[in-house]
Amino acid sequence: MEDVQKQAKARKTIKTSKLSEKKKDMISGYLYVAPFFIVFGIIGLYPALFSIVLAFQEWNGLGEMEFVGLSNFAVVLQDPLFWKSLYNTVIIGLMGTAPQLIVGIVLAYFLNLAVIRFTNFFRVTIFMPYITSMVAVALVFGVFFSSNETALANYVIGLFGVDPVSWKTSEWGAKIAIALMVFWRWVGYNTIIYLAGLQSISKDLYEAATIDGANKLEQFIYITIPLLKPFIILTVFMSTVGALQLFAEPTVFLGSSAFSRDEAMTVVMYLYRDAFNLGSFGTASATAVLLLIIIIGAAAINTWLTSGIGSKKKRGV
């Protein structure tokens, strides 16, 4: 009898402690995400709401705000420059961002190989572009891609028999130069994120696979990539957002003519011009809202696409 009672008591205790454990987890959950949301509440919420409200107003920054309903959106959507800037942003994004992710994985894989020496040195150098100040980057790329025949970029393409290009002012020249700048600056950043991801994969898996007779390439495809997938999704997502919000690289590259030319104007540059050069904060905010919608859409698509990686391969494993 006592045993049964003891067992019943034990079961009860287990049950009750499990319940409160779930509750405990819930409380912990909320508690631990709280700091982030507190910060957001302080510094993130107000500007976000302000911008959304502003999209429906006409405001020059100094005077009174005037409610204008959807007309800001109409103005922006009917402006050919808006669409041009969107086109520019997407093209530069594809050229500059997509390669950076692929190269990043490859580089991270190389750096992670046990046989490679001097990894520290390579790690530092590959990360250097991210550390180098934008001022310096702009100056260097500005000189490298200047319109002169003796500019280094023109010299290089001259070796392939191509005529000198006026980089800062040509339709494709500007985009290529900026895409290269973006690639250069961010490839190291993505590499070290992938490196961190690679670290989280247990070496045991590779050993087991080698014993099973899989070669390096097969291991890469069937172990590394699928397990790296969350990090790939992460970087794809961040890069998509970053590419659509591109502002710094074109602005510093083009310098004083950044807001007067349309070859390399990005969407954020377009809205910046509206706000600070034209005194039209309403249309700028409307553009920001439109961009938000585009970003959510693009990020969703990209994330869905990248989650497709590895699911086919799972069959192989």
């Binding site: 405990k24 987890d25 819930m26 959950g29 909320y30 631990y32 995400v33 982030f36 910060v39 957001f40 510094i43 107000y46 500007p47 976000a48 302000f50 920054g61 580089l107 190389f110 750096l111 190989l113 490679i116 520290n120 390579f122 530092v124 150098t125 990360f127 250097m128 572009p129 991210y130 550390i131 180098t132 100040s133 001022v135 310096a136 980057v137 100056l139 260097v140 000189v143 250069w184 190291g188 950043y189 070290i192 961190a196 991801g197 989280s200 994969i201 247990s202 969350p230 992460l234 997502f237 961040m238 957002v241 502002f247 910046y272 706000a275 600070f276 904060f281 700028a284 920001a288 959510i296």
Partner: protein
């Protein structure tokens, strides 16, 4: 055994070539920055471009020191970057841990809400953010300059991924059975495991804050509270730029960051070789 060694050595040569080329490609602008820091201003515009260092290393830097409170700004920057990095690491890992390992209602909604923080371009949010910081009395303070960087969704995403992949559920179960509270688990188990992620996120945030200009420039008005990028900006006078001086300032402002990167890098490596709890 000998065969294997030779094979792997031959296979590694192309890899070294690729890595080497990438390094050159990455280092070149930094090298050029150094060259310009040692040349007089006119060298910037020279056609064809100057590629070898000159002799003005000390002279240019002296000009920098004469014009801006360089070391004061550097101290401010180090302080700001350190505080922000520590804060971000804590906030992100806590939240990442919660998202990875706990169930609670509204979890997915909150996760998506985080995405919204990324969405307002900083250039547009500037005025309301500035207004807010000013009203809170945080102009010219570390808090005012730093708080914006705490809103770093990358941190949460990264931590969540890393934790869900490298902290086994069984480990947590075992700890709980031993009577550990959630916080104890976080502090004594999770944190040691995610050190490489800490090192990665840490250097990203540190670099980000070190190099950021717009917000710090807007919030910091008093020269004694300047950070490096803000101080360097006063070297850039549109019509009379002394490129040698400017690039010297930029160069020396970057060097400490490289040193710090090396430290983070060591931390990254040592935490890997320590191995995980496995």
């Amino acid at each position: 055994m000998k065969k294997r060694k030779n094979q792997s050595k031959a296979g590694t040569l192309p890899i070294y070539l690729i890595l080497g080329f990438t390094s050159l490609f990455s280092l070149f602008p930094f090298y050029w920055m150094f060259v310009m820091a040692t040349q007089p201003s006119a060298a910037y515009n020279s056609i064809p471009p100057t590629l070898l260092p000159g002799g003005k290393l000390v002279e240019n830097f002296q000009k920098v020191l004469d014009t801006i409170p360089f070391f004061q700004a550097m101290w401010n920057t180090v302080l700001l970057c350190t505080v922000v990095t520590v804060a971000v690491l804590l906030i992100s890992s806590l939240a990442g841990f919660a998202f990875a390992k706990f169930q609670f209602p509204g979890k997915n909604f909150l996760f998506i809400l985080i995405l919204l923080t990324m969405v307002i371009p900083p250039q547009l949010g500037l005025i309301p953010q500035y207004y807010l910081i000013s009203q809170l009395g945080w102009l010219d303070t570390l808090m005012g300059a730093g708080i914006l960087f705490l809103l770093n969704p990358l941190g949460i995403f990264l931590m969540r991924q890393y934790i869900s992949e490298s902290v086994p559920d069984e480990l947590m179960e075992a700890a709980k059975l031993d009577g550990c509270s959630n916080f104890r688990i976080y502090w004594s188990i999770v944190i040691p495991i995610i050190k490489p992620a800490f090192a990665t996120l840490g250097i990203i945030v540190f670099t980000l804050v070190w190099g950021e200009f717009l917000w710090q420039f807007t919030v910091l008005r008093d020269p004694s509270s300047y950070t490096l990028q803000v101080a360097l900006a006063s070297l850039n006078n549109a019509f009379r730029v002394d490129f040698g001086m400017l690039l010297s300032g930029v160069f020396w402002a970057t060097v400490p960051l490289i040193i710090i990167f090396l430290i983070f890098n060591k931390w990254f490596i040592s935490s890997i070789t320590e191995g995980s709890v496995k």
